[in-house]
Symmetry: C2
Subunit: 389 residues, 2 copies
């Protein structure tokens, strides 16, 4: 799965569309409802690498953020660069392509590089950004293997730059409440966690389901193992791995896993459509998780000694709904991207180390767990999760 010197240009030659395909339908709610002190100091300048659908969502977040702003883009398509330049008032000198990207080392305007490329390109562009002396935010999953994650962490350490993974839910009030209720044992010890995230990408009803599907279409990169590193688990299930970890405040010691039925052998020739897994945590809790490209699901549930707490919708872009044994939860539905970018950039501005739970270390742990889940599913056995850190 290890890849070197990926040509972004060749990858996008066909359609020029990036990071799209299967994506979560976004719902935007303004941060404006949340009163906060207005920050008026220096803002970090962020460059987005890869101008697909999620980059546009991040660009919206950057309009609302206080501690950073959109200052540059990296794209293989000059016409896209032109469009973004006009829409976001980006100076010409801050628009790069994949060939001249490394010269960003000389651009003192740019503080942070946010990588929004297909999974298999995260490592290369993280390392190139680090070598250019820029702080890095890399979308989840961090990479397509734990080895790649280790290489990325090492490169950022060597370069003296910070590395964050795009774990937006660590800044989202409903998920923060789930974390608090679990880790603070508000309802006592948590014994069972259920986490599911799935998006139906198959037209089950249509007679021509999968008819024109082409695994080499960049729009379908999530289904092409070379670009994605895996199926639903890598792109959606990683949120469930995360949720079980932040609710319990622990990392699993072992996992079992099962692939679900494949409903579209053409679409899912290279990566899994559905996978279920069960994770055992050191404190005795079990997490029962599932993720799918074949059905919709978006739920978190925790059963503790003295009560339950849950979200549904839980993981998507919201708006979320939550409840516990004590009744309904009431939190603002925020712009998650703005909150995440502000949370990260404020610390970078203050020259403080980013917390572990949004760091490269966190991304690496997720990859160790996902590698164990795949191994468990492939061998139909219980697999210990080995953390080599």
């Amino acid at each position: 799965m290890f890849m070197k010197k990926t040509s972004r240009r060749s990858f996008l030659a066909q359609t020029g569309v990036t990071a799209a395909g299967i994506a979560i339908a976004p719902t935007f709610l303004s941060n404006k409802a949340i009163p906060k002190t207005k920050y008026t100091g220096k803002k970090l300048n962020v460059t987005l690498v890869g101008l697909g659908r999620y980059a546009a969502i991040l660009a919206d977040g950057l309009q609302e953020s206080q501690y950073c702003k959109l200052a540059g883009v990296v794209t293989g398509h000059p016409e896209k660069g032109e469009a973004w330049k006009k829409q976001y008032n980006i100076p010409d000198k801050n628009i790069y392509n994949y060939e001249n990207f490394d010269s960003i080392v000389n651009n003192k305007d740019i503080d942070v590089i946010y990588i929004v490329l297909p999974n298999a390109m995260h490592k290369e562009y993280t390392i190139r950004a680090a070598k250019a002396g820029k702080h890095v935010i890399c979308e989840k999953p961090m990479a397509i293997s734990s080895q790649e994650c280790n290489d990325m962490i090492e490169a950022c350490k060597q370069a003296g730059v910070q590395l964050a993974i795009g774990y937006r839910l660590h800044y989202e009030p409903y998920n923060l409440e789930m974390k608090r209720l679990g880790q603070d044992k508000v309802f006592g010890e948590v014994h069972y966690v259920e986490a599911g995230l799935g998006y139906q990408t198959i037209n089950f009803e249509g007679a021509n389901a999968g008819k024109d599907f082409n695994i080499n279409d960049p729009l379908e990169w999530r289904l092409n193992r070379r670009w994605s590193g895996g199926g639903a688990l890598m792109n959606l299930g990683v949120y469930c791995v995360q949720a079980s970890r932040y609710i319990l405040g622990e990392n699993p010691t072992s996992v079992s896993a099962q692939y679900g039925t494949v409903h579209d052998a053409k679409r899912f020739a290279q990566v899994e459509e559905t996978i279920l897994w069960q994770a055992n945590f050191p404190g005795g809790a079990v997490a029962n998780c599932n993720t799918s490209y074949g059905y919709n699901i978006d739920r978190l549930y925790a059963s503790a000694a003295n009560g339950f707490f849950e979200l549904a919708p839980a993981i998507s872009y919201g708006p979320f709904k939550g409840a516990s044994s004590n009744g309904d939860m009431h939190f603002p539905n925020i712009n998650q991207q703005a909150a995440q970018l502000d949370g990260i950039c404020k610390l970078i501005l203050e020259n403080k180390a980013l917390p572990d739970h949004i760091s490269g270390k966190e991304g690496l742990i997720d990859l160790y767990i996902m590698e164990a889940i795949y191994k468990a599913a492939n061998t139909a056995s219980k697999v210990d999760v080995v953390y080599s850190m």
Copy 2:
């Protein structure tokens, strides 16, 4: 696990309490809210075997039922017989003990025997009731092995009596709606079902948790393999097996399963505290289920091509709450026992065969599945469910 000539008296010698221990906290809501034609014909006379906690709940149901009434009891405790006699106006001649039970063959007053004994006694008392020429209703799980179920079915067939299993949820409006939404494909094909039922029986907080626990205490029969045949799966999980089957209208072809962490080795020395299982259905759906004596959970969820539907609480005695992609469900919360008894006894009165889904055949299928689940958990492998019918 096969047992012969169980002495009910010796089993109950210590405390005289039956079918109690771990039980679902009941909530009673009257049937009176549901308008229906009043039946004024002959009522079937029902004898309850085993006067534990659930027998009392059934007795309440029998006060509300139209097609049957409480006419007799079988108990090893004369003082209990006296108390029930007074409370329910039962004639002396309809009060039996476990020794003279077979003489009920000569009691033309009694039409139906309802067996509410520990699991391991279901077979013996079903066969004795059948030999006495009485129709039988047997609580779930039908028995502690598929072999026992086959013997029970054969005995009832030989005796020319009908055999029903106490599947109350087949008469409960919210669960009937889940069945309809699934089997009628109201939201299209169902691809994923989640079912969980658990009741926390451990005092995790208490310093003396499990201190005075005695596996031979009849109150704890559910934890004694000799009486229960298994742990949470046999007593609670069977509802999840059922739910996955009635939502999908199919029987699983294979299962995987995992035991959860044991938090109280003394209580759970003989049977499982927690078990998770994943069932694969012929149409391609996956059911992801869990059951526990270590944590509370009571949920059903189904994801279909065009929507979801769910209940929580779902399986206990209610009141239930349900919702789907179309909004909240609104059904009466009924007396489940009265509805179940009426549903069964009306058909017996009309001399009609009971439908498969509440028959001994249904109970047998559940045992085939549960045996496969235990095998899968014990061997940590995917196990085909073999239906030898």
